[in-house]
């Protein structure tokens, strides 16, 4: 990749930086590509099992295409071939994951490096001012090409038509490419990587909303909104149903336009600066940040809240949106699943036996519990990033004890997890209740169903606390492995016929399946109490470890 002709130009050093990026991402990048590929392949395969006949799929198309909540969530129905159903169910969401991969990748190698000062060191070498941006985009293109090839291969292996599979893969990956360019543009606008990531993800969210509203409004409504959204383009390629190849030109045009703008800005701006100015903040700390109590050992809980609140707001918005839509989809779920006995079984496995609607809602609530466990884990792991980032050191050199530092972030994790579950319950209750005209009782019922997940979600985060205290170096990888295993057991444990003791390891195995299951002190209260005690024990062990070990 050494191109002597580039020496002395703004692109000098691009090849070296691209190789550096591949070296730094040699695990993360293949993991993203692998997960997206497996997601699509396994789901296309299982859709084939769930709806094996044309009649079953036609049934699904008829009921699913009429259910505005599902159209809002996934998109419009174009056909009832297996490929078309797969593209409907997973196309938009796979494009979202692929776009997130691009956003994280590009910001990480441009603005995040610049903010941390690493690019300054590189920029002082014989490296052009556009090299980092170009290298990041090259790596994104390489990841996109790899993802496209893998997707085409696995889709054909699953048994879908070749031409449609190429269209499906390109519909997903051109969207991912467009968001790589959007992220490159966002990285020129702000001086902070967090904000740049936020802008790009915000654009992705807006694209989803435009598409969702456009799709759900139906003919005669504002259905043209979908055409404004890159995720709408993914949908409008219509793979497996007389694919419209020309639609692929739209994301490519957006890629070109956003990239050109990013380059124009990058040439003109100062190193380290953004286009949007940094707003000055307070010159003294608020009473809230300092905390109100007067004790010798201070809880830096005001600080922990300040550091974590932005992330929590983002999660809460995502929860509100997702669970309102999922709740709204519950009406008419029975007729939707009518064609598939296996899908019915899948829901009753996750959600219990008491009626298909209750089973569906209970399944949604256990998904809320799993997502909340992921949030709680990330909130606890903030402790580790504060430690490795060096911010913990000056803090622990004050009269703040390690225990109160640890507990302050754990407190944010607990409160945040409870708040997210409450949001999930209320949103699902409103989504379902407003359509059936019983909002009050549904909100109350689903709020309860969401809150019983709390001990299990927190138990997963308890594992993160233990790892942080006792094996800090392994804590990030270890804690996310725990989350992954719990999700795997919850979704596939019974399908994979794992033995009962493995299923019982997951805290979610002990959560009553509400709504639907009978609520008694013995069946509902006792498991939750045990989970709570286990979580307290895990937290205590982790904090004891934190007291004894080296910091840093």
């Amino acid at each position: 990749m050494t191109v002597p002709a580039l020496a002395g130009t703004p692109l000098a050093g691009t090849g070296v930086l691209a190789r550096l990026a591949f070296r730094r991402d040699r695990i993360m990048l293949p993991a993203w590509v692998y997960v997206i590929t497996v997601l699509i392949a396994s789901n296309s395969y299982s859709l084939g099992k769930l709806y094996p006949t044309v009649e079953a799929r036609a049934d699904l198309a008829a009921s699913g295409g009429r259910n505005p909540a599902l159209v809002f969530l996934y998109g419009r129905f174009w056909g009832d071939s297996l490929g078309a159903v797969s593209a409907w169910r997973y196309g938009v969401w796979a494009a979202i994951f692929a776009a997130l991969m691009s956003i994280f990748l590009v910001v990480r190698h441009t603005r995040a490096d610049e903010e941390a000062g690493r690019l300054e060191l590189i920029g002082s070498a014989a490296v052009g001012r556009l090299a980092a941006l170009t290298a990041a985009l090259l790596v994104a293109v390489a990841a996109t090409v790899a993802l496209t090839i893998l997707l085409v291969i696995v889709l054909i292996v699953v048994g879908l038509p070749a031409a449609g599979s190429v269209a499906f893969a390109l519909a997903i990956t051109t969207c991912s490419l467009a968001f790589a360019a959007v992220a490159a543009l966002a990285a020129q606008l702000t001086s902070g990587a967090r904000t740049a990531r936020g802008i790009a993800i915000g654009v992705l969210g807006a694209a989803y909303l435009l598409r969702a509203v456009g799709d759900a409004s139906g003919e005669g409504g504002v259905s043209w909104l979908t055409w404004l959204s890159p995720l709408g383009w993914t949908e409008f390629v219509r793979p497996y149903t007389q694919a419209r190849w020309w639609v692929l030109a739209l994301p490519l045009a957006l890629t070109a336009a956003a990239t050109a703008t990013a380059y124009a800005l990058a040439v003109a701006r100062d190193h380290g600066a953004g286009l949007l100015p940094d707003r000055p903040g307070r010159s003294t700390a608020s009473a809230w940040l300092l905390g109100a109590h007067h004790r010798a050992d201070h809880w830096p809980v005001g600080l922990a809240w300040r550091l974590q609140r932005g992330t929590l707001y983002g999660w809460a918005a995502g929860f509100a949106f997702t669970f309102a839509a999922s709740g709204a989809a519950a009406k008419g779920i029975g007729s939707l699943l009518g064609g598939s006995a296996q899908l019915r079984n899948a829901f009753t496995r996750l959600g219990g036996e008491a009626g298909i609607t209750d089973a569906y809602l209970a399944a949604i609530m256990s998904l809320a519990g799993l997502a909340a466990a992921a949030y709680a884990t990330s909130a606890v792991l903030r402790l580790r990033s504060e430690e490795t980032g060096g911010q913990a050191e000056p803090l622990l050199a004050t009269a703040t004890s390690r225990i109160s530092w640890g507990l302050s972030h754990i407190a944010v994790a607990v409160v945040g997890t409870a708040a997210l579950l409450a949001v999930a319950g209320v949103a699902a209750g409103l989504g379902y209740g407003l359509r059936t005209g019983s909002a009050g009782s549904e909100v109350a019922q689903l709020l309860g169903a969401a809150m019983v997940q709390l001990p299990a979600s927190l138990a997963v985060a308890g594992a993160a606390v233990v790892l942080f205290g006792l094996a800090p170096r392994a804590s990030v990888a270890g804690a996310w492995t725990v989350v992954g295993l719990v999700v795997l057991i919850a979704l596939f444990g019974q399908v994979l016929r794992l033995s009962q003791w493995i299923l019982d390891v997951s805290p979610f195995a002990h959560v009553p399946k509400l709504p639907g299951a009978a609520v008694t002190l013995h069946t509902t209260g006792a498991p939750l109490l045990w989970l709570g005690l286990a979580t307290v024990a895990l937290t205590a062990a982790g904090l004891a470890g934190l007291r004894r070990r080296d910091i840093g």
């Binding site: 201070h298 980032g389 050199a397 004050t398 004894r548």
Partner: protein
């Protein structure tokens, strides 16, 4: 209790790396003590053990009469610390961080707003800026102002002027001298020797995790040589005179380092040759330091 810090035979290893290997350090109450050593000598590790962030493997350490590991929290209420590499929360402003660190030091150590304002002006810091927009020097200033504005009895400063410009370095020196008059104890780790020379009452030099030398600068000079620079009427012969080192002769110009015991003899020989111009000066800390640092290379097991 006259010693703010007492360290004996301190040992700490990270995996196979022996960071501290029997380090001794005494800091008397009320003094400014410079803690000198090349990069990687173990200065920061020592300070982090004194802060209870790291656990020692062996030896003894006392800080303000307490155990730095067991009594960390109570001791921290009485000290302020400036890390060598200051990392701040990018989304908080400098002003917020100054208040926050003061607050976390304990209820009794609230910052006097007048003093806070005076220090902010003295160091020319914009407290309304977010930390991500600060340069290394400005981040350093935030940590320094937070420490100096506190009423802590002990200040632990790890290379505090590393990112400051000469003007700010001068402001820092003034501040340290003010603190000395207020009777505060300061441990100042540094490899900037002129800083230690200008500020410190006593000095500890460490190398490879061990104390190489400790004492006042006067005591250390007693152990060292004087640099002699002379312009003579006639060439003088100092070759082979005991106590004369690093002799350089260019015609009638002569330069050498002389042990204290040999000074009288050498000066006699110079005046006999006719002195035109003469400078004798005590060694700078740079020279002291270089001697200790280079001793490592000529010692047993040295690298070529």
């Amino acid at each position: 209790m006259t010693n703010a810090i007492e360290v004996r035979g301190l040992r700490k290893s990270f995996g196979r790396t022996q960071a501290l290997d029997g380090l001794d350090l005494d800091v008397r109450a009320g003094e400014v003590h410079a803690f000198l050593g090349p990069n990687g000598a173990g200065k920061t590790t020592t300070i982090r053990i004194l802060l209870g962030l790291l656990r020692k493997d062996g030896g003894e350490s006392r800080l303000l009469g307490g155990d730095p590991w067991r009594d960390a929290t109570t001791l921290h209420a009485r000290l302020a610390y400036v890390p060598g590499d200051v990392t701040l929360w990018p989304g908080l402003t400098g002003g917020e961080i100054i208040d926050l660190l003061a607050r976390l030091r304990g209820p009794g150590s609230a910052v006097d707003p007048k003093r806070r304002q005076a220090l902010i002006e003295r160091f020319a810091l914009d407290p309304a800026k977010k930390a991500r927009a600060y340069s290394k020097g400005n981040r350093q200033k935030v940590a320094l102002i937070a420490a100096l504005a506190s009423d802590a009895e002990l200040l632990l400063l790890d290379e505090p002027t590393a990112g400051l410009d000469p003007l700010m370095e001068a402001a820092f020196r003034e501040c340290v001298n003010d603190e000395r008059h207020d009777g505060r104890t300061i441990l100042l780790s540094s490899h900037i020797l002129s800083e230690a020379e200008a500020l410190a009452d006593r000095v500890t030099i460490i190398r490879d995790g061990r104390t190489a030398e400790t004492g006042t600068l006067a005591e250390m000079r007693h152990l060292t040589r004087t640099t002699v620079d002379a312009e003579l009427a006639r060439p003088a012969v100092l070759d082979g005179v005991p106590g004369v080192h690093a002799l350089e002769v260019h015609g009638t110009h002569l330069r050498c380092e002389v042990d204290h015991a040999a000074l009288n003899d050498v000066l006699g020989r110079l005046t006999a040759a006719g002195v035109v111009a003469l400078t004798c000066r005590p060694p700078t800390l740079e020279e002291l330091f270089l001697r200790h640092y280079s001793a490592e290379r000529t010692g047993p097991g040295a690298r070529p």
